[in-house]
């Protein structure tokens, strides 16, 4: 896999993906255990007493909480318009909560004509050079935004050739053998790469019904969208 041409300087590492949700555990005696206490110090999820839980919720950070948590070095961000999620629990329902953290290395193309980024799927492609002998046909991506693609141009008169083979033996027919060499105008070929990080929050419970363990889990994305898994 070739992620050879980055758009950022080498050695620049992404920081952690910031949390957009924090949790609060509610006990049957009215006591709450928040992920971050009043001093913005973090409580551990594994320290929650599951036997006493009656409710568990995920909430967006308030600006004040986010500011305090960032001061102790945690990466969080306040997006107060995000919806909150709560589940009611009892002794039969056991809490499920975790975050899936994704670190991906992603390839993409950039069209040098319209300056827009696109994903090359291998379907929208242009034959830029026909194969000869052991060499196969060469295809380049077509920009899905503006339709641009690599082409050839006469170095002297700038006449455009959609494929190398449109000009006999790679020479511009107007400018002849001495001056009519073609050059490749690169607009869409060549991929770039970058690291991406994102988080999905999973909240739910498991319950034993007639000896069979059932799970109900909601996947909550960073934008607040929620899906039943």
């Amino acid at each position: 896999m070739d992620w050879s041409r980055g758009i950022h300087a080498p050695g620049v590492h992404m920081s952690n993906r910031p949390l957009v949700y924090h949790w609060i555990a509610y006990y049957d005696d009215g006591i709450k255990l928040p992920q971050y206490n009043e001093e913005c110090m973090e409580n551990r999820f594994i320290d929650i007493d599951q036997e006493r839980l009656v409710k568990f919720g995920l909430y967006p950070f308030s600006k004040e909480l986010a500011k305090g948590v960032r001061k102790i070095g945690d990466d969080v961000v306040s997006i107060e318009i995000l919806p909150s999620y709560e589940i009611e629990l009892n002794k039969d329902k056991r809490l499920i909560y975790y975050r899936d953290v994704f670190i991906s290395q992603e390839e993409f193309h950039i069209c040098k004509k319209c300056k827009k980024e696109f994903k090359y799927t291998g379907i929208q492609k242009h034959l830029v050079k026909k194969g000869v002998g052991k060499y196969k046909d060469e295809y380049v991506p077509i920009c899905p935004h503006c339709g641009a693609h690599d082409y050839y141009e006469c170095k002297k008169c700038q006449r455009r050739f959609e494929t190398f083979d449109d000009a006999s033996q790679g020479m511009c027919p107007d400018c002849g053998r001495e001056h009519g060499y073609l050059k490749r105008i690169v607009l869409t070929s060549g991929s770039y790469g970058r690291e991406k990080k994102w988080i999905e929050y999973y909240l739910g419970y498991q319950i034993l019904v007639k000896g069979i363990n059932h799970k109900v889990i909601f996947k909550i994305k960073e934008n607040g969208d929620c899906f039943i898994t």
Binding site: S15, R44, G73, Y98, Q105
Partner: protein, 218 residues
Amino acid sequence: MAATVQIEQVTGAAGSRTYTVKDTGTRLRYYTADESGAALTTNPIPIPTVNDGLSGSYWATTCVNVTAGPTSYIKNLRWYVTMASANMGLDWDLGTNGDMVIGISSPTVASGRTYTQGFSSNQYDQSDGTVGSWGYFISGPTGHTFYSVSCSNALSGGATSTGEFNSLANAYMVQSGQVMGSGATGRSYFIVTQIVVGSGAVQGDKPDKTATYVYSEV
């Protein structure tokens, strides 16, 4: 606090390894050399001229490094790569029997999605072959010691198509169960991947792909 995690490539002899961070600035690239450089044009993978011949890249060893530990734990480290076709060989026109493969220790693909398939640091095996020409196949007689020798029941001799692990739902299980406990730092189990090029492969610009490590954390 949330763990800080980075992807690393491992190269060099077992006793003098180099760990190279793989991110936006220094991405993974396959060579016919034990090389972690991001943008080198030396030692590409040649297209075999013999019918039914295969050329392998040197296998690439990667892992994740937890540099700041999780509040509670990190569990179930997985890996997958996106593709449009059944395998990378079709997506990238890698020729007859060309593909992107990954070391597997289990006898079935299904168990490869459930049980640990990576290997611990002390089972690291430096990639080898003939520089500039071909790398040893993971599953071959001179292949990766862990997959081709230690795992006697491994599927296809220890390597299978990454096409089997092309989404989160059917991701490859690098390390199941707890990877790091509360506050713990260090490296996960390692995985090896390799590009195999067959005769009839096509050179040129290839469709974009995304390879992803994912782990569960609280």
